[in-house]
Subunit: 278 residues, 3 copies
């Protein structure tokens, strides 16, 4: 565990010191919060929508973030090209299967992405279950995403997450009251945080964007753990000092921009728990 | 009047307690504020742009919000499909004819929407007059929208609003310094609020989105009245404690997220006034 | 210099008093901040994406803002039509060549815009150099935009900026730690400000949008100088009273909404420096 905690602290510091560029393909509702959260933790942000930008943005980025929310028609082509470019250029990429199950274009897109094996998948429980179904990795259970909201618990998504990690060889984060973060070898639970994060839009998307920043400076499992623990700390701390939802949002992003590695380390000691692998 | 006040209080509480999902088809400038305002008052938000999402989002939503701002090419098809799906599935839907009169695509779209008879129409005075013209319900007066801003007063739009309500059988809100809220039987004026709401973008759009939340839990007239009175109270209260435009925005959304039904009731007693129908 | 300072103060006041409408064609990441910054300094905002809106929005606007960030496919046609309409209707227009060099669509678009000679160009150093290359005005040096970030200093872009001003007959702003603002006759440096502006997304784009507001009420050189000095003052003052990035953003927009002409005049006296033309 000491090794994990040190790696998390190092990721927090490295993002602040090296300001890596993470190219994003993300949704319109939360695009501004995603970019601001990425900048806050020390990264640099740039968002694209056109297929012809897939290779150039992958070339100059240290990691890529792909989010399936509020799609336009070109998205099926663009996001597939973006994933392909990331793989071809050896850049880690994060998939956020927002609203998986809603609409023919989105569902076709998510199926198309299977061969590009995302380095990290981050979704809520219902999105993770739905994605595992779409990729025909686990068919016993069907995810039930209600718009962008989960109707399943993170533990109900555990088997789906395992199957996804088995297919991709990468890391999967199931976000919820407690986040589950796992790869083929290990499973971690990250607890804490605040429900206030659900009172603003973009809590999940911006976590995906921030995990992409950390994926630019750390191995996938550590990147995902760092994102989760940073979000749990920043939201819990913000909720302690605010009441309204926009005051909370301000304090939350402020906290991300003022991350102190040692504070995160102390928080992580109780927040991150290693689970016995089933 | 007591009946109206009780229904408004009930709508405020029911939105907070039942967290209804309202699917939105909305513009890019204010999309984030719309979603955050909907979340703040207790609703859940999800935004779509593609025609293939019209039926699935209507199916899982309790109400639909359609906003004609910053259109893309696909919008004429998408927004019409969204309205059609709402009608077919019996979900109340709110039309926000933003910038009516600006551009051939927008004007054609707004004309297309006539047969789907929105449950609630919310616009500024010039948008309401322009829409009544487009629908050939009232031709004596021409609306003159300047970009997204009204150049007419709410009272100048009263006849147009009545004609729209007559056609749709639903409710019409004309937003302004005082909001007029009416259906075929009654006309209400909702006063109060603050001009500061015009110093941030999205005051009108997010009101449309919030009215959609209330339309998920209350009858149309009450939903529209509740949205207006909540906005008047939240903006007036926010303006009393802030000076700059973004501090105002934070306080305004904070207020929406901290709505207290009894405070709203007290405010509504003086804010909502029933007008003698002409 | 006294003449410049008086003109800057007059621009600040005129924007607040006349509330000019500036139509924008801008990117999705920062669209909300652009509109809010325009409203804060006293302008009115309306954003378009469709070619059929080019003429109507130019007709009712006092100035036009065109930003090349996060393009959609239609953008090549739309933004060219928007520039053309501004020229035909004699409205000043501001070009923000965001991420110049990234992607075939963007690069083709920027080349297409050459004949429409923007009244004001605002970009970071690398964008300005790249644009001068695209327009074959200066080929000795190649710009190296990294996503949306500059890798060159403003002084390295000086010759490119001069060539652009020579071609357009207008004004060019190179934004950076110090902003260079020049036309065919004069060069000014505007110093001050805060690095915190780089910790939020949209600092550059919203400056472009605000310059468009001032271009509606002042001649191009004064409009560009006013935008720069207002941004230097508002960001420096906001940074002095805040720590986190979103508290900074709130204080920054608040400051724009509370501009006091005399405070700006005093700040401008030391911030704006006339350079000897090379």
């Amino acid at each position: 565990m000491e090794k994990v905690l040190s790696a998390v602290v190092k990721a927090v510091n490295d993002a602040k010191e090296t300001s890596p560029l993470s190219g994003s393909w993300t949704n319109f509702t939360t695009i501004n919060l995603v970019a601001n959260a990425q900048l806050a933790v020390g990264g640099r942000a740039a968002t694209c929508f056109l297929p012809d930008e897939a290779k150039p943005i992958a070339a100059i980025s240290k990691s890529i973030y792909i989010n399936a929310g509020t799609l336009k028609q070109i998205a099926r082509e663009s996001l597939t090209e973006a994933a392909k470019a990331a793989v071809e250029l050896g850049k880690p990429w994060v998939l956020d299967p927002v609203a998986a199950g809603l609409g023919a274009t989105r569902n076709a897109l998510l199926k198309d992405l299977k061969p590009y094996k995302p380095t990290i998948i981050r979704g809520n429980a219902s999105e993770v279950i739905t994605l595992a179904n779409f990729w025909e990795l686990q068919t016993a259970k069907k995810g039930n995403v209600e718009g962008v909201d989960a109707t399943d618990t993170v533990y109900e998504a555990l088997e789906s997450a395992k199957e996804l990690a088995k297919w991709t060889g990468g890391t999967v984060t199931v976000s919820g009251k407690t986040d589950l973060v796992l790869n083929n070898k290990e499973i971690y639970a990250v607890s804490g945080g605040s429900d206030m994060l659900k009172k603003i839009t973009g809590g999940g998307c911006s976590l995906g964007g921030v995990i992409a920043v950390y994926a630019a400076v750390a191995e996938p499992l550590i990147a995902a753990l760092t994102g989760s623990v940073v979000y749990k700390w920043a939201s819990e701390t913000a909720a302690n000092s605010t009441k309204g939802s926009f005051s909370f949002q301000t304090a939350f992003i402020d906290n991300l921009s003022l991350l102190d590695a040692e504070t995160i380390r102390t928080y992580a000691e109780t927040s991150i728990r290693k689970m016995v692998k089933a």
